[in-house]
């Protein structure tokens, strides 16, 4: 009788288990609701105005204030520095107030933002259950950035488990060969953090760096930029061999953008990298441009010029278009400009304040 009872329980559990996997069970994040490009509008630092715009690239329709629509009208109260999708969650790096906002693929926020040990979060990258978040500290010394760090954030418990001190203003992050690479925005170094031991080593660089891309061989492209506090003529793209942790090549080009969020993006087969730049025209008017870096030849070709208010660039693998984000002011709407791969402008749409980047969900 006892065995029969246990079998009955097992049978019922089995039914429950398999019934939960039937095709009738609704997908909580169905593609027809989720699919689209989500544009992050940074807003105006300290004065709010951040928002998310959803662009349905199949219908060609853009919906501003998407976050607010999905959350019963509440505002994004932080300026969103960066957004990152991982395991059916989107992590928004919020500044002023400083927090990590976690939303589901429908951009619904059901839990409060994480603030503990998060100060001026910049960028993040995931590895296993952890998100590594570059942070600039609550009251940075902008000259030396001695108190900046990497927050090791457990995505299961939503807690920062460790703070890895990393002076120099870490900005872009990437993981390769079990190392976390951090582009330092205030010193001519790239930090390499061994994820097993948290030991930090450095790669000397010809200029300060901002963001990475990883190729199919686990090697990295990194942007070298010139800033007011760290001027350099050695700007361009660096190529880092992650086995030797050496810079193997520097592909020089002037005026690599000092904007934050998304200034370089690869095409779908990683044969090209598009780089956002700032340059003077023949009349010495300053404007933005996009250069196409050919991986094979190692050369840059300018494909878009005369961009007013360049903020970011992103390649959409779904429609093979280049999305350019522009904003001339921090109190009025910005633009999403959609270009063909050859640099032909196809469409311009109005976004929220200061669009900087996009993530793509399907």
């Amino acid at each position: 009788m006892k065995i029969s009872f246990k079998l009955l329980i097992l049978f019922l559990v089995g039914i429950l288990f398999f019934s939960s996997c039937t095709e009738d069970d609704p997908d909580p994040f169905p593609s027809e609701l989720v699919k689209g490009a989500y544009i992050v509008n940074y807003g105006n630092f300290g004065d709010g105005g951040a928002s998310i715009a959803k662009y349905d690239y199949e219908k060609g329709e853009l919906h501003n204030n998407y976050f607010s629509t999905q959350n019963n009208g509440i505002e994004l109260l932080s300026n969103i520095q960066f957004a990152y999708e991982y395991n059916d969650s989107i992590y928004l790096m919020g500044n002023e107030s400083d927090q990590i906002i976690v939303v589901n693929p429908l951009f619904i926020q059901s839990r409060n933002g994480i603030t503990e040990d998060i100060a001026k979060p910049r960028y993040c990258v995931a590895n296993g259950d952890y998100l590594y978040i570059s942070c600039w500290g609550s009251n940075p010394d902008w000259a030396l950035m001695p108190d900046t760090y990497i927050a090791k954030f457990n995505t299961k418990t939503s807690k920062v488990e460790a703070k890895i001190a990393l002076p120099g203003g870490p900005e872009g992050l990437i993981i390769a060969n079990n190392n976390l690479y951090a582009a330092l925005n205030y010193v001519n170094k790239i930090a390499v953090i061994d994820l097993s031991s948290n030991a930090v080593s450095y790669i000397e660089t010809p200029a300060v760096s901002s963001y990475f891309l990883k190729d199919n061989n686990e090697n990295l492209y990194v942007t070298f930029i010139s800033t007011w506090s760290n001027f350099s003529e050695e700007t361009g793209l660096g190529y880092i061999n992650t086995t030797s942790n050496k810079i193997e090549q520097v592909y020089k080009t002037d005026g690599v953008s000092t904007e934050y969020g998304s200034i370089l993006t690869p095409n779908d087969d990683f044969s090209k990298i598009y780089v956002l730049k700032t340059q003077y025209d023949e009349n010495w008017n300053l404007s933005g441009a996009v250069a196409e870096f050919n991986i094979g030849s190692g050369t840059f070709t300018t494909i878009i010029e005369g961009i007013s208010g360049p903020k970011g660039i992103s390649y959409n693998n779904a429609d093979n278009k280049l999305y350019l984000f522009t904003a001339e002011s921090v109190v009025s709407g910005g633009s999403l400009k959609i270009y063909a791969e050859d640099g032909q402008l196809e469409k311009t749409l109005e976004t929220g304040i200061s669009p900087t980047m996009a993530i793509y969900l399907d």
Partner: protein
């Protein structure tokens, strides 16, 4: 004739009582010149709207900056947080468009272009004039939207007089101040010193907690917004004879505040950044107005220092030396001329400026004014000014003002006035020289101001009424903004037209020993961008932080030694960006009373004030909390010998 004189005298007295000194009319202008320290701006701009506040009114805002007084008693919009930063925006213009004058010094920062009005202490001054509209022909660069004149009266003290004041208020507010007047009728020393502190830890309803689990507002306490200001104004004046004297004033100011976090940051407060400003402003002037040829010679020195968040690597310092001379020739009562020149030698020491771009800059203003009264009812002035700047071209700036008495009788006076003026602002040092983002090729901002007004004064025994209506039109071209061109750069990007109507009604009446005054002001201001080099999305849109409607009403009463007031001010809805985000209008009510009495032959003044009586929860700047109801009580001891 006698009744007219009585009327004009009564009118003048009533203006003093209202605190609105008469805009220049036939009689009173001369009187103003005699009693105020710097009043050429009144004499040579008869068609301009200038309102004045006296020492009594300034004393009601002694614990704090002039921003409190202006926002309570005028229809001028002050964009402000809870005491750290206040900027003045007259008639829809930017903070850079109001010059603030102390003697021959425009105290606005040469790097930023404007002043923080919350750091200009009302305690140090006896008189405040506010001019509406462009006045660059008189005040030089920057006076596109308006001008403020900080003044002190020449009392030529004979003996010793001292005032010792303290005020204690809500949220840790404390003011300690002393005014010491020593003189023999010829030589006079006036010392004013104050220390002001405020913890600023007020309660407010936080609607921006970011708490998505419990979305209701919470009662929060403002953190990280402390203020500590201190200043000393020392005057040494010498009177040779009437209209022949020397004035020397040096003003030391040290202001520190924590930068107020917005509501969402305050809810999860960690720390605040802080700002320290120190200023030395010195002005000396020799004035000889005994003869037909009157003249003055002045010189000054200004040191401005700013330290942001204790970062010694990012100091912003400017030093300037100033010299000015003016000659005035009075041909007769109906014609006079004034000519002058003002020179400034400026040395910026700013961490982000390259010495290859700027080490020094020199300014020379030459100006000519003429006053002409062709017949008794009409007064006119023509002002011309040309500024010369090393390595930069500033425009020629004329203005024409007129005032016409439409009708005058035993009990009334009606006037029409108007002016047409050009105004300008040369770009700030930051606009031109900030790191690699400054743009030395910027053009000056160029304004045209057209204004007309009507005034009616009525006096019947112990009742006085004044009604003023002004209409204005301002066209400001080459308005400078910082724009993103890949890097942020200053650029002449837009043309703005600001137009509107302002009305003011004042009523004074006496019942027995009780004197009452009611003043009401209203301003309708439409300010829109009509051309832009860059984005086209904001055309025909009211400028952000520019209310269409502003208004205020003040009732004051005096009974023997007792005074009381109640005022209410309305700030209309304002856009906080060009995407339609709008801040709600609000109405604030304040009241106060003071009593003067004698104690062993010395004066004692007890005061009490309540601000935001109805505890209105409001935002002036989006996301920044403002204090609810708050109290202030004060004690002033006046000692004379």
């Amino acid at each position: 004739m006698k009744s007219k004189l009585i009327f004009l005298f009564a009118l003048f007295v009533s203006m003093q009582m209202f605190g609105f000194e008469p805009e220049p009319s036939v009689i009173d202008t001369i009187h103003l010149d005699e009693i105020t320290t710097y009043a050429d701006h009144v004499k040579y701009q008869p068609g301009s709207k200038i309102v004045s506040f006296n020492a009594e009114q300034l004393s009601t805002a002694a614990s704090g900056g002039i921003d409190q007084l202006i926002s309570r008693l005028t229809p001028i919009y002050i964009k402000t947080d809870a005491g750290g930063l206040s900027t003045i925006r007259i008639r829809g213009t930017a903070p850079d468009h109001t010059s603030i004058n102390f003697g021959g010094i425009n105290i606005n920062s040469l790097t930023l272009g404007h002043s923080n009005a919350s750091k200009i202490p009302a305690f140090l001054f006896d008189k405040l004039d506010i001019q509406f509209g462009g006045s660059s022909a008189i005040n030089g660069s920057g006076a596109i939207g308006g001008a403020i004149y900080l003044g002190n009266l020449n009392s030529w003290t004979n003996g010793v007089k001292a005032e010792i004041s303290t005020q204690q208020g809500s949220f840790g507010e404390q003011l300690y101040g002393t005014k010491l007047f020593i003189g023999n009728g010829k030589i006079e020393s006036v010392t004013k010193v104050y220390v002001y502190k405020k913890q600023n830890n007020f309660k407010f309803e936080n609607i921006y907690t970011g708490n998505v689990e419990v979305r209701e507002p919470v009662i929060d306490i403002q953190k990280g917004s402390a203020i500590q200001n201190q200043g000393l104004l020392q005057e040494i004046n010498y009177l040779f004879s009437a209209n022949h004297y020397i004035k020397n004033a040096v003003w030391f100011e040290k202001d520190w505040h924590q930068i107020q976090p917005n509501m969402q940051t305050n809810f999860r407060y960690k720390s605040s950044e802080e700002l320290l400003n120190q200023h030395i402003r010195a002005w000396s002037e020799y004035i000889n107005e005994q003869n037909r040829l009157k003249f003055s010679i002045g010189s000054g020195y200004v040191h401005d220092y700013q330290l942001y968040d204790n970062n010694q690597n990012q100091l912003i310092i400017t030093n300037r030396g100033i010299a000015e001379t003016k000659f005035k020739y009075v041909l007769n009562k109906t014609i006079d001329w004034r000519a002058g020149a003002k020179y400034q030698y400026i040395v910026p020491d700013v961490y982000s400026y390259s010495t290859a771009n700027i080490t020094t800059e020199q300014h020379l203003d030459v100006y000519l004014s003429t006053f002409y009264q062709p017949f008794k009812r009409l007064k006119t002035t023509l002002n011309l000014r040309q500024m010369l700047v090393s390595n930069y071209k500033a425009p020629f700036t004329p203005s024409f003002n007129a005032e016409y008495i439409l009708s005058s009788g035993t009990f009334h006076l009606a006037k029409l006035n108007g002016n047409v003026s050009r105004s300008y602002r040369i770009p700030t040092f930051n606009d031109r020289f900030w790191a690699d983002q400054g743009n030395p090729n910027l053009k000056p901002e160029d304004g045209l101001n057209v204004e007309t007004g009507f005034e009616y004064h009525f006096c019947n025994g112990e009742k006085f009424t004044t009604v003023k209506v002004n209409g204005f039109y301002m066209d400001i071209d080459n308005w400078i903004e910082w724009r993103n061109y890949g890097i942020w750069k200053a650029e002449n990007v837009q043309r703005v037209i600001s137009q509107g109507i302002e009305t003011s009604v004042q009523f004074h009446f006496e019942t027995g020993k009780t004197k009452s005054d009611i003043t009401a002001n209203y301003s309708l201001n439409k300010a829109e961008k009509i051309e832009s080099k860059a984005d086209n999305t904001t055309f025909k849109h009211q400028l952000i932080y520019t209310p269409y409607h502003m208004g205020n009403i003040v009732y004051s009463i005096e009974y023997k030694q007792f005074n009381a007031f109640i005022d209410g001010n309305f700030t209309g809805g304002r856009y906080s960006n060009y995407l339609g985000s709008k801040l709600q209008p609000y109405f604030l009510t304040n009241a106060g009373a003071w009593y003067n009495f004698k104690l062993r032959n010395q004066g004692l003044k007890l005061s009490f004030q309540v601000n935001n009586i109805f505890n209105v929860s409001y935002q002036n700047e989006k996301y920044y909390a403002m204090p609810g109801i708050n109290f202030r009580c004060g004690l002033t001891l006046i000692i004379k010998s």
